[in-house]
Symmetry: C2
Subunit: 514 residues, 2 copies
Amino acid sequence: MMEGAVKIVPVKPEKPLLGKSNFDAERLITSLHSITHKKTLIIDRSLWAKLPYILRRRETLYALLQEGEREIYLVELFEVLPLQILGCAIDIGSTTIAFYVYDFLHDRVLEEFSIYNPQIEIGDDILTRLHFARKEENLQFLRRKTLDAINRELSRFPTGSIYYLSICGNTAMTHFLLGLPVNFLIVEPYVPVMKWIPLLKAEEVEVEINPLAKVFFFPLAGTYFGGDLIAGLYEVELNQKDGFSFYLDVGTNAEVVLGNRDFLLACAGAAGPALEGGIFECGVRAMPGAIESCKWDPESATIHYRTIGGLKPVGFCGSAAISLIAEAFLHGFISPEGKLLPQTLPERITTLDGERVLFLLPKEATAHGRPLYIKEGEIRSFLRSKGTMYTILSLLCEKVGLSFEEIDFFYVAGSFGNHIDIRSAVILGMLPEEALNRAVSLGNSAGKGALKFLRKASFEDIKSIIDTITYIELNVEKRLMELLTGALLIPHIDLDRFPWVKKQIEEKRRCFRR
Amino acid sequence: MMEGAVKIVPVKPEKPLLGKSNFDAERLITSLHSITHKKTLIIDRSLWAKLPYILRRRETLYALLQEGEREIYLVELFEVLPLQILGCAIDIGSTTIAFYVYDFLHDRVLEEFSIYNPQIEIGDDILTRLHFARKEENLQFLRRKTLDAINRELSRFPTGSIYYLSICGNTAMTHFLLGLPVNFLIVEPYVPVMKWIPLLKAEEVEVEINPLAKVFFFPLAGTYFGGDLIAGLYEVELNQKDGFSFYLDVGTNAEVVLGNRDFLLACAGAAGPALEGGIFECGVRAMPGAIESCKWDPESATIHYRTIGGLKPVGFCGSAAISLIAEAFLHGFISPEGKLLPQTLPERITTLDGERVLFLLPKEATAHGRPLYIKEGEIRSFLRSKGTMYTILSLLCEKVGLSFEEIDFFYVAGSFGNHIDIRSAVILGMLPEEALNRAVSLGNSAGKGALKFLRKASFEDIKSIIDTITYIELNVEKRLMELLTGALLIPHIDLDRFPWVKKQIEEKRRCFRR
């Protein structure tokens, strides 16, 4: 039997007999009992008047069923099996919107693609957009903008065949798309409008697909903990694991969950912009021409890099910055406090507009003819971000009395998770050393979770995740500041926590000085 | 705490606190937990965007909740208690549509009135309308006609304040109003479209009341056993009684239920037209000028009567016809076979157009200047109707091995039940003698049941009734014809079943001949 948010089921209702209760709808409902289980079957109002005719046209019909939380909706009765029944999973990130067009009949992804979130026009970071959206017309502008982009992309497919959407987005993105006010989301005590969004009809969201389609939104767990995170946890099934695991989603925000089948402890902090390359003057989003990974060869004093699309570089991604800073630290060009040490590398460490900078590429090597560099101030900002990440991990472990040693897996999600070099993250003290062999890169787990919902429609699992999560508000955690201080150094004020890094430093510096 | 399909509940959600999961919607839902019990609270989509603002305007708000089967719908949040929140119970009979405009806030009926069912234009009897409605445009015509009449009547009230409708109608009426095809309802095996009609929104029915209003339809138990019957049973609570009771609804059809808390056995037959006065040339519906009750004084050879509105007579109702025939029989003017005996009353029993008739009123005494009479053939038709009623009662008793002696109550509903003289019905053998002291006249119990739903919204009770009912299709009951033969006589071929009637006959005739 087909699983999934949409099911096409052959039905063969019993023939009506004289002297029996033989309502058309009830015979149909009875013939579907084995599929509906304990859920109530709701026959769409649009089918009622057609029912008697359709039922008498063929012995076997094909019912299109949509899964709801407590109901199953029967919205179409086909005389012949349709060729295509589609759904689409949409992960609305602040930067990109990822689409997974899914073919229910053949259980396959027809197309997977992503576009830039058009909200970027208002501002790269979420906070700018949130402030912009305080005015009702601006909120509607953002909603319309996002909706138009989604409708435009979906219009390339036979929209009449799209019967289900599964959407995940962080709390702000979800509010924008539903036109919910964010005014109380950005002031203390940071209150979102709703947590669990009831299943909607396409028209209620204004998506231009089959009018009978349903739209599922992943619920929100908190102000800084949105549906994308829930989708990610649902994908990884953190709540079904025996051992302890971390789930890290480092995008614009750093969101971390620690847990297993018994508990889920969540925490989020504004660690992100730096990690995404946002705070670097020469940093760019993961776009064509962006340096996504690089390797420093201090012997020959060259930097080997790879750009997205193999183009001439336009800037570096967060992941590349992390590698660069890690390498620079290992070789002693950066102090544990994040200071650039000019005497160690005079040819690259110099001064620009009164600030110390680390030059990476000359203007001749870039697409725009401007050099690429990292400023000392940027490194300090970055250290604050990486420190926050480490501190959140420490804090969560402390809360439940665990050491990093007891963590089985570090699931690393988000666009960051796709590219990050775990080794570099450990060298910088962003992740504990235990992550070295236990990190699992997930890619876009939020999008994958949204897609999984189309395949499984497991409302209960998602409900169980959202009901299990305990969300720790960082703003009220004094302990955070205590822990953060030590984590602002590379890798940490307490080098004993990073024996492997200590060894790397010694080896590298010995080797380099040789 | 207010009961009812609509509730106005004061709510005082907790203030949001930093570091707690404090979604606006969830705080609101939590504050309503004591009212929603096990049902899911659904906040109407139209409220979502307003929620953050409304919640911050006042400490205490008034939530308007509508009861659903498994859900409770929150559709309005008032800052001050509204002055009026209305509902309307509508009983759509083939002849009249009865309205009960109900004030939820003060638990009182504001107005109770009825209008003629405009479908009468197509035909007095349901079958004519059903055949007419086979064409889609005609079905829509009937739907529109009924809807327009309902909308017109409701427009006299503040429609924006009407938040709930409770509608009952027989199977045909329910199909017409919902625009459901009746084509398979009128041919073997007589199949209605649906039994349990999910709660609808006002717009889905096209009633012009508050767009957020819900519309409840009483479910149908069978082709000849509609929502009006279910509403009547719900009113009488037959399914909650210990002893055995009959519920009789004699309108255009004769519908009978026998049962108690353990079972409900239902049966319906086309006994009605005669009993409603429909088969009599001089019979009229219960309308101004209709003779609704009369008494025959054979000594003075006069007929004392009462008309509706005290007007000059235009015809007689079914209830009056029953009294007249009963009296004529008791005095020996009519034979047990239903023959008029001219020699017993030569001044009244004469011949018209070659058929024997019983003259009642001369043309001078009537409003239209035509005499009133009953034809012998009409009496024979009537005997078929009354015989059917008695037979249905016998058949149901036989099915469960009961005698009439064991029946505690005979609940008589319908317009018929308002006026019928139980004594006359027993004399004619329409009801068994046991009904004499155990009959309870209910009036319009269907309408009252629909009203009760607004007051209690007990979906479970109605579900339990519909789930308990076993419907016996008369068309397949050969035993009916066997039983009917004896019941075609007045009062019955077996006079020992009617000892009291036997005594009445003897007394009357002795007294008259003296």
